[in-house]
């Protein structure tokens, strides 16, 4: 009964997902990241629905224009990441290094703008600490806009995203360092590909966060 099947078995591994192991591992890791941000965004939605007066209208407190520009920068960094991957697929070492460097610079720029934004916001009283919350908004009025949950959820969500971008930039630097050593070739560049997967994920999350936190 089983002989026919046995005869066809070749000594290669059982066909897995058809995706090489490193890439599969990254996809699986990103699934858990999805759940992490789901938890944060879900909490935000629940808190905002339960306490609408604790939150402000778009643009009242947050600088939407600056962050929209920053969002554009991050999207551009995804494009440069794609260019880096396309370059090494053709075996173009110079192109890989150039586009990786561009991605690093754009990513670091994004984090830098976020830090500047944080400094400006905290100096205006928009802080995560519940007792110290005193955001007067961009009009610099006399009444406090929103409530403690606004500050806490804002820093929670953008902060964790910023941490992910920062880690991404560090990993990009590592990838760049390996690219300079010529570790990636047209046939072997898994490290670049999974770096790209992570980076696009972080970018995608930001588009969601920007919409939810700044625009709605």
């Amino acid at each position: 009964m089983m002989t026919t099947q046995a005869a066809t078995i070749d000594r290669v591994r059982e066909e897995g997902s058809g995706v090489y192991t490193l890439k599969l591992g990254m996809w699986i890791f990103l699934l858990s990241e999805v759940m992490f941000f789901t938890g944060l965004i879900g909490s935000y939605i629940i808190l905002r629905f339960a306490h609408p007066t604790d939150f402000a209208d778009p643009g009242q407190v947050l600088n939407v224009q600056l962050t929209a520009f920053n969002t554009f920068v991050l999207i551009c960094s995804s494009v440069t990441m794609v260019k880096a991957f396309a370059a090494i697929e053709q075996g173009d070492q110079v192109g890989l290094k150039r586009w990786l460097l561009a991605t690093i610079i754009l990513g670091a720029f994004f984090v830098g703008v976020q830090v500047v934004e944080y400094i400006a916001l905290t100096s205006e009283g928009f802080v995560p600490m519940a007792e110290a919350y005193a955001a007067l908004g961009r009009e610099h009025g006399t009444t406090v806009i929103g409530g403690p949950l606004y500050g806490a959820t804002f820093y929670m969500m953008t902060g964790f995203h910023g941490t992910h971008v920062t880690i991404g930039v560090l990993c990009l630097m590592f990838t760049y360092w390996r690219a300079r050593q010529g570790k990636y070739t047209a046939t072997s560049h898994g490290g670049v590909e999974i770096m790209g997967l992570y980076w696009h994920f972080v970018d995608l999350v930001w588009i969601l966060l920007f919409t939810i936190v700044y625009l709605i």
């Binding site: 046995a6 000594r11 699934l31 789901t38 600490m129």
Partner: protein, 599 residues
């Protein structure tokens, strides 16, 4: 980036240094053993914490034997001896639950058996990411140290219960615990990273590294259960991590996520915690189910009854586990319609659970049963899981739960599934795979004595707790005699406590058997249980890299007493025998005269 190329350095034949071999090892079998020893250590700690709690409950206000060794922050010294303080009791409740769940049961099931069994049972030389695997263990160690450090800091260890409900947990004002609570949060966050690293590894390994012929429905059930468990860990732990960090911010920098005094939502913590917490319950039982299936099939010398049904039942349990978390919160205030849907989805879990129970009994039925220690523990798992499952149905009913909520009935239920379920499965697993781990057999007589005493004392401890709960005794209660209506239950509390001391004491037998067998046990052959799965085709213990050459799999894992072979087992990697033709070759085919009939 960790884990590198995914190619384990399994084929260098030089002996690695002591540190590379025993401390920072990337070999899955060594990491499994590291998890084993760490978890057994925490199992002892957790057991001692429970014994101290039982002293207070059985003999409230009486000096604790040996209590003098504790500092004055934990006990009140009197001329007769040291009496436990209520704050210390709170820490004991919290730390017993946390340590047993996160540092004993979970790493034993997932860290030990996941690492030991997955590569061996699917025919891989190691995990997909061996270095990530090492990181996983070495994150669990600092997490454990931070958790225990709580006892040494001012204010004592965390005291808000293992569920750390807000607002009790948001500020030290309520519990008197400041730093301890933060250490608790930090420890569990780090442990979460450890579990995630493990889960990514397990899932990748099982999907991509199976030996030729090891199709999905030839995977042994322990590995199947660990695969499903790893998916639950992957998706549930990040939710907990987010919630833990938010709570940590509430305590340290003063955010107000869960603090009602500044407009936060304490119920949100419950939702986040149980959205993680209920899948966690299945993380703690599914690997046990896999282990027990393997042991029962092997020791009955029969194929597992309904292999596909077993897998599908585990998948259904895992799926349903995501939509039942509200049953922990019936008393927290909930739309009745929502409560009803949580009730129905919870009770639906009884169906796949019953399928599994039926199949275990079907496997045992008319089997050639070998009453070895692993089988005894496995059968104990099945019977205790039935009791724990049935009490779960009681609590799933919203109106019944209104009465039972936060009583000792709940404590009885959780221990029937976690001790009676998971821990008996762990005992079954350790006694079954001990020869594969250490190359020596455990002592059967000692094992049976340990089993019998544990089984009896265990039921003496936890069965009366149902009655205590129905009598109205609240859980996490420091002194039951403070309430007049509970004073009549005090003799039962005393009985439970004495049984608990005997239960803890019995475990010395297991510890002795474990360490004695480790050094003096009978040498084990490669396949002492005449088992079919691939881990038994390699020497005990398996060498670095596991398989000398890649195994080829021809059949499912439970072909016991197969008519196709003379032995009563038929290993997965043995090529099928060439059958002599038993019947004469069929007559040559003659086309039928009707048109189209030849098709």
């Amino acid at each position: 980036m960790t884990g590198g190329t995914g190619v384990p350095d399994g084929h260098d034949h030089e002996e690695p240094s002591f540190i590379r071999k025993y401390i920072f090892s990337t070999d899955h079998k060594m990491i499994a053993r590291q998890f084993l020893f760490q978890s057994l250590f925490f199992l002892v700690i957790g057991g001692l914490l429970a014994a101290m709690m039982r002293w207070q409950l059985g003999f409230p206000g009486q000096p604790m034997p040996g209590g003098g060794i504790f500092p004055d922050a934990m006990v009140a010294p009197t001329p007769e001896g040291a009496i436990m303080l209520p704050e210390f009791y709170n820490s004991l409740v919290t730390m017993h639950g946390t340590i047993m769940i996160f540092f004993a049961i979970m790493p034993l099931l997932v860290g030990l058996f996941g690492n030991l069994l997955i590569p061996l049972q699917i025919g891989a030389e190691d995990m997909a990411f061996p270095r990530l695997n090492m990181v996983s263990f070495w994150l669990a160690v600092p997490a454990g140290i931070l958790m225990l450090a709580g006892f040494a800091v001012e204010g004592g260890a965390a005291g808000a219960g293992w569920t750390s409900y807000a607002p009790l947990s948001t500020s030290g004002e309520w519990t008197g615990v400041y730093l301890g609570q933060q250490l608790w949060l930090a420890s569990l966050t780090i442990l979460g990273f450890s579990s995630l690293a493990g889960a990514v590894n397990y899932i990748t390994t099982i999907i991509n590294m199976r030996a030729p012929g090891m199709t999905w429905f030839r995977i042994p059930l322990p590995t199947w259960s660990l695969f499903i468990t790893a998916i639950l860990i992957l998706l549930a732990i990040p939710i907990l991590a987010g919630a833990l960090i938010m709570l940590l911010f509430d305590q340290t920098i003063g955010t107000g996520f869960f603090r009602p005094d500044v407009g936060g939502e304490p119920i949100l913590w419950q939702h986040l915690f149980w959205f993680f917490g209920h899948p966690e319950v299945y993380i703690l039982i599914l690997p046990g189910m896999g282990i027990v299936s393997e042991v029962i099939s092997n020791r009955s010398r029969k194929p597992i009854f309904g292999y596909h049904a077993m897998v599908l039942a585990m998948i259904s349990i895992a799926f349903l586990g995501w939509i039942v978390w509200g049953h922990h919160m019936f008393q927290s205030g909930m739309n009745p319609l929502l409560g009803t849907s949580f009730m129905i989805s919870t009770m639906a879990i009884a169906v796949p659970s019953a399928i599994k129970t039926f199949n275990w009994l079907g496997t045992l039925w008319r089997g050639n049963i070998h009453y070895d220690t692993p089988l005894l523990h496995a059968v104990a798992f099945v019977s205790m899981f039935i009791i724990g499952g049935l009490s779960g149905i009681f609590m799933a009913n919203t109106p019944v739960d209104m009465y039972l909520h936060d009583t000792y009935f709940i404590v009885a239920h959780i221990h029937y599934v976690l001790f009676g379920g998971s821990l008996f499965a762990i005992f079954a697993g350790i006694t079954f795979w001990f020869p594969k781990m250490f190359g020596r057999m455990m002592n059967e007589t000692l094992g049976k004595v340990h089993f019998a005493l544990t089984f009896v004392f265990y039921n003496m401890v936890f069965f009366p707790m149902h009655n205590l709960g129905l009598g109205g005794m609240m859980r996490r209660l420091y002194d039951p005699t403070e309430y007049e209506f509970l004073q009549t239950l005090q003799p039962m509390n005393k009985f439970v406590s004495i049984s608990a001391f005997l239960l803890v004491g019995t475990q010395v037998l297991f510890a002795f058997n474990f360490f004695w067998s480790l050094f003096r046990g009978r040498k084990a052959t490669a396949n002492p249980w005449n088992s079919n799965t691939l881990e038994w085709t390699v020497p005990s213990p398996p060498p670095h890299g596991n398989f000398a050459e890649m195994p080829v799999v021809y059949r499912g894992p439970y072909e016991y007493s197969s008519p196709e072979t003379d032995d009563d087992y038929y290993p997965q990697n043995v090529p099928p025998r060439e059958h002599p033709p038993v019947a004469p070759a069929p007559a040559p085919f003659t086309p039928s005269p009707e048109p189209g009939g030849a098709e």
